[in-house]
Symmetry: C2
Subunit: 439 residues, 2 copies
Amino acid sequence: MGDFVFNLKHVLVVSLAMNMCLIWKISYDEETVANKWSSWEQKLGLCFNGEKHKDHDTILATTSSAAAAPFVRENTAVINLDHGDPTMYENFWKQKGKETTVVTSSWQHISYFSDIKNICWFLERGLMSAITRLHKVVGNAVTEGRHIVVGTGSSQLYQAALYALSPHNASEPINVVSAAPFYSSYPLMTDYLKSGLHKWAGDAKEFNKQEPYIELVTSPNNPDGSTRQDVVKRDKGILIHDLAYYWPQYTPILSPADYDIMLFTVSKSTGHAGSRIGWALVKDREIARKMTTFIEINTIGVSKDSQIRAAKILEAISDSCDHANEKDAETFFDYSYKLMAERWKEIREAVSKTELFSLPDFQQETCSFSGRTFGQLPAFAWLKCEGDVDDCEGFLRKHKILTRGGKHFGASMKYVRVSMLSREKEFKLLTQRLPAIVS
Amino acid sequence: MGDFVFNLKHVLVVSLAMNMCLIWKISYDEETVANKWSSWEQKLGLCFNGEKHKDHDTILATTSSAAAAPFVRENTAVINLDHGDPTMYENFWKQKGKETTVVTSSWQHISYFSDIKNICWFLERGLMSAITRLHKVVGNAVTEGRHIVVGTGSSQLYQAALYALSPHNASEPINVVSAAPFYSSYPLMTDYLKSGLHKWAGDAKEFNKQEPYIELVTSPNNPDGSTRQDVVKRDKGILIHDLAYYWPQYTPILSPADYDIMLFTVSKSTGHAGSRIGWALVKDREIARKMTTFIEINTIGVSKDSQIRAAKILEAISDSCDHANEKDAETFFDYSYKLMAERWKEIREAVSKTELFSLPDFQQETCSFSGRTFGQLPAFAWLKCEGDVDDCEGFLRKHKILTRGGKHFGASMKYVRVSMLSREKEFKLLTQRLPAIVS
């Protein structure tokens, strides 16, 4: 019985201890933020999960794990929506059983090699067929006559594509551009090794050199969700299409994408970011071979364990789509579309209650996959601070909402990118907090 | 009954078809070898699994899968021992059951993050403790006061270490050296992006510039198995210790390695190359942070699926070592030591039957882990062609043994590196074929 003694003194002690932890954590963060980023890294902009923001997560994690302690009021929690950690699909996968569970014995796939007859010799055949099948089921990309190159996430494939496309005997590194606002990691991934092969040349809309260039086209775009096409349109231009978000929960699928190099990732399609699996659909055999060479030198291939798992999950999604009418169970794309639509409804409602913010509007179109008519439901909200607020990131940080500011995307500081992919708890806090902010 | 009709005509047809396949494959290989390697890649030397050699594997694979067809004589098979694919431990792992089997549900480890309080925020806690425990059990490395950084194999960690150690504001890239013969991938991994941070500067024994440098010390060494220490020993020198082979099946463990940056990998310690998991033990917090940043930009972390699997396998090895006397089952290090010792006995016997080749000799020492006294049992045989043969790789290729020639390691072409880690069948073919070769 003594174990269950509980009185107000205990509550007070616990509450005080938690507050001390939070105060200590916040001052520690500010100190580390100041010290941790070298000038060079700052110049290039923050990378995807910079320590700056990561440390702040601890606060959120503390709060989340303290769910059993109602003494900590939710409005003291820091919400980290800076990165696009796709945990929002976790509940869907929790309903799934054996059909998506992978069992691996210790003797399995020990070798470096997967398929020595394939250009991409480390690509598991099961993953290759799962990718091809899913694209056919969804109708979002042409796979016929394409080589598939698997990567440790699509970041590695982006770097592999740069390696494959850059001339190796040129006197100057090739220019790499993308229309602003562009994904904040592109400049960093292009320049972090001070490569003599390629260099970041900024906003494609301002590129006016008469030199060879590689243009990155991200569609739907990260951070703003817009549909994109190439903008430079000049001779000697080479295109890479980053189609990480070209899936029916984010955008109406209009036709199968049919470009020379197309990048995809399970992180954003199925939400399995921890597996680090991306793939490229590549038209030219020689480009596919060079991309493979890059990954060979960089990491000697890609985790077989994650490839096997990704294959199982992609196959399960295709299975459920093929039998959508026969079963009661909701397909993954039904679930994820409804969740994104609901979240966008909620964030638009929250923003409409205040004059301080605005969100982009999107044209409605009919999705060839689902038959639904809807406007983009981007993985990120490209939020603008209206009125006098010039540093939207800093403004929101004061209100304990961590986002990524516009300058990292080559855009105005009046904008921030807010992740729409967090767990439910954080998203709810966001939609409660936004309309409550007073200028 | 008709299904089992079998006559000499059928045998002839099958045999002819197989020969046609082999002939087509060989001509295809020669054509692709000629075309596939750009001059720049050739200048730097072949990378780990260059397509050149990979295509030849098909021949071996064809032969292996034709085991049921005794018509193909084994002396026509091409044996590919160019790469160090560690398939020799597969039979050990086949005996293992649940204690090394991993079951992963689709909702598990979905997030990018593993442990946001750790410098290496994508390192799974289970792997961290499994690594620490195994080093303590084996006594091959100091882990106290070290940060662990996980990588997609040790190749990525090597590049992460270069990124972390190179000055980012210097006018010239820093020199990277290693004593010849050095691992053939080091020059390629250092220079493939024409980085402005670091450049390959060749054999450490010939390095005489009064400039900052990074020296790679691989011990036991790849390719020749020798125990190594740093050789330049000058101010402004920074060391990276690649200890991939510092495990008791390859070398007597003398004391726990205690260096600033030490690299390890499951590929060579447990044989799980397909999982692409390596780790670095790093003394300096800031270096560990920068290595983490590299991996963050390069691949946004490391496969969680592979980390979980590696942790399970490392723990199982530690468990079996801890209870070695209580159980009848052979520990992994007992099995792998005996297998390496047997293979080295066999290859030395094979080489002793001919005047054409020689192998390095190693001093016997007592292993602090096993208590056994033995000389090195390297993962590769550094074979020398004696007499008039100047191109040992070319000479062996004529006899259908694919190896990696000395020039790729900064050494004489009279040497080749031969993998000792293949499956039994290929190794047996090697020891049969070597003594039968006539000059």
